[in-house]
């Protein structure tokens, strides 16, 4: 592992609003520099996206951006981030994505000039490569449009670059459904890591060339898929908790390759990345209930530098448009966090303790995100000989923490979850440390579900 020690090793320092390596943006946000900002996410209502409907699409993004920034002025906001996470057609036809960045950026600039409100756009092209089945992670022409959108989008005002990359997804979905942790670890620590090592140098390059910021990646398609499945009782919560931890070494690669943060929302694993690397992170919690329900409403705020709502459609609520309503909710959450920071360390730590302790007794997924536990787990991860070893070590520590909490009665657990502890453990124990060994072991049972050469194997 590149990181040999934790950048943050005390739970009290792994706290919202402060990161050892804050990120300063063009318009003057200092993310992780002592203040938490809202990161607002939004998407279209049910409609077609194409060059034909572009005028209407643009109208939505204009209305959303105007609405949010107007409200930001009303609420005396000190700044915020807007995310443009593209949908298929916006990436497949990069001109659409670029047009939307441009439109949004013009409005941001207007508010910056007029009110001195610093707003930055995070541009997150979606990973198209999955449209080939199995994906051709390195040779697909989809890759070109993704990189083109990164390139042209950062020229157009996308000052923070991110992606939810999906390398390994062809293995992980079924692995999760079958609760096969060995396979899941393979998808993350071999395929995921290799894909990130391929993808992120390219993104970082584009960012450097265009003087924008390479934010980070998220294992949304892995960790959050697990969370959603657990939420529906499709898989045990314990499996989802361990799966979350298994995504960390994979997501870490972005930073190893030069991403500087803010890490992307959706990545509940961000807090591990912050502990290891010191970069600022975006987190989402209760105020992302518009996008998915979760057991992580409060604990997710423990170390957030940006606070996000994940995604809400531009539809009308009684108060007005949903993105504006959700922005307001985020801003009040953020006000509370910042008031604690203003008061000082004691107050911040206490508020953090309340946020954390209010959730961790109910769900193992919340438990593993408590700063103290994050530091324990991250401490094991950095000791790993390689990403596989790191992933396995992290998972083992997570299981240990969950076991302790169940045994001490601090974690409520459903009877039917318990049997999975042993299954998980023996699964994890069966993972060999060496990559070639692991690949050899898995290839026969994975058949043609993935293309080894697309991962440099």
């Amino acid at each position: 592992m590149k990181y040999k020690s934790l950048t943050i090793s005390e739970p009290e320092k792994l706290i919202f609003g402060d990161a050892p390596l804050p990120v300063k943006t063009k318009r003057g946000l200092i993310i992780g520099g002592g203040r938490v900002y809202a990161e607002v996410n939004f998407t279209l209502p049910p409609m077609e996206v194409s060059l034909k409907t572009l005028p209407e699409v643009r109208k939505h993004y204009t209305e959303i951006t105007e609405g949010i920034l107007e409200r930001a002025i009303e609420l005396n906001s000190r700044g915020l981030v807007l995310e443009l996470e593209t949908l298929l057609e916006m990436t497949r036809t990069p001109a659409i994505g670029v047009e939307l960045v441009t439109v949004m950026n013009e409005i941001c600039e207007k508010y910056y000039q007029k009110y001195n409100l610093p707003v930055e756009i995070r541009l997150t092209p979606n990973d198209l490569r999955e449209f080939d089945r199995p994906p051709q992670s390195r040779t697909s022409s989809y890759l070109d449009s993704m990189l083109e959108l990164f390139e042209l989008g950062s020229k157009a005002g996308g000052n923070l670059l991110s992606i939810e990359s999906t390398g390994g997804k062809e293995i992980s979905d079924n692995a999760l459904m079958m609760c096969d942790m060995k396979r899941f670890i393979f998808s993350q620590s071999v395929l995921g890591v290799r894909d990130m090592e391929f993808l992120w140098p390219r993104i970082v390059d584009i960012a450097r060339k265009n003087r924008v910021i390479a934010g980070g990646d998220t294992a949304c398609g892995f960790g959050n898929t697990a969370m959603i499945l657990a939420d529906r009782h499709y898989i045990p919560k314990i499996v989802a908790a361990v799966a979350r931890v298994a995504t960390v070494p994979r997501t870490l690669v972005a930073v190893e390759q030069g991403a500087t943060g803010p890490d992307k929302d959706c990545a509940y694993e961000g807090i591990f990345i912050k502990a290891i690397t010191g970069i600022p992170i975006s987190m989402e919690g209760k105020t992302s209930a518009c996008a998915h329900l979760s057991p992580l409403g409060n604990v997710a705020a423990a170390a957030a530098d940006l606070w996000s709502n994940e995604s809400v459609q531009n539809i009308r609520l009684l108060s007005g448009m949903a993105p504006v309503a959700y922005y307001e909710q985020l801003e009040y959450d953020v006000r509370l966090l910042n008031e604690a920071k203003r008061c000082g360390e004691r107050e911040s730590i206490l508020l953090q303790k309340l946020l954390v302790n209010s959730d961790i007794g109910y769900d193992p997924q919340a438990l593993v995100l408590a700063p103290g536990n994050v530091i324990r787990i991250a401490g094991q991860i950095i000791r790993g000989k390689n990403s596989i070893d790191a992933t396995v070590s992290g998972c083992k520590e997570a299981i240990k923490i969950i076991r302790e909490a169940i045994d001490s009665g601090q974690l409520l657990t459903d009877e039917k979850e318990l049997v999975w502890m042993d299954i998980l453990e023996s699964d994890i124990n069966s993972v060999p440390t060496g990559e070639s060994e692991f690949v050899e072991m898995m290839l026969p049972e994975l058949g043609d579900t993935f293309i080894p050469s697309e991962y440099g194997l």
């Binding site: 409609m47 077609e48 057609e89 979905d173 459904m177 459609q313 039917k416």
Partner: protein, 226 residues
Amino acid sequence: MNNDDLLTRILTCVELGKVNRNTPFPPDMKGMDGADELTRLALERGIKPSEILNDALIKAMDKVGQKFADKKIFVPQMLISARAMNASMVHLKPYFQTGEVKRKGKLIIGTVAGDLHDIGKNLVAMIVEGAGWEVIDLGVDVSAQKYIHTIQEHRDAVVGLSALLTTTMHNMRTIVADIKNSFPAVTLMIGGAPVTEQFRAEIGADGYASDPQGAVAYLNSLIHEV
């Protein structure tokens, strides 16, 4: 062991996921015959394939589906039952080909063009299969053409469409229209997180279900209607 007992044992094997003698799961059935061996035995004894299908396999999957709906078991447990059922079905296959046994019907299912979300669709496919339907899974990113092409070959099939993105709901609308245009009589069932009953009515699909249990209920209602 009389025939009834044999059927009950097959049912138990499927319910608990005992595929064959060699599979280690469930631990307390180690070394015992599984769905595989017992189905062969049942056929040898002259038990009717339709009885095996209906009184053992489908009944077992019913129970499993119910436990799943009641949140008593997780997906992997259901998948393992499905595997046991498949081990049994291998032996029934010839009878399906001769028409001696019949499934309840056929479902063509796929995630609509532009959309890659298939976890939900896969679950629906699996549970519908367990409920005694033949399932033809077209995968993800399925165009109207591909649906239509497949319907041409399976005129009696019900068609299921899944969409998880608000933008691909639009594709769902046009695909539904295209299919209805080519095959006015085909029954279309839609689903996926953003889809609603209201949307169904709006785009002129025939059925909507919010989960696999609902999908099965809807499909079964079609049989009873007939």
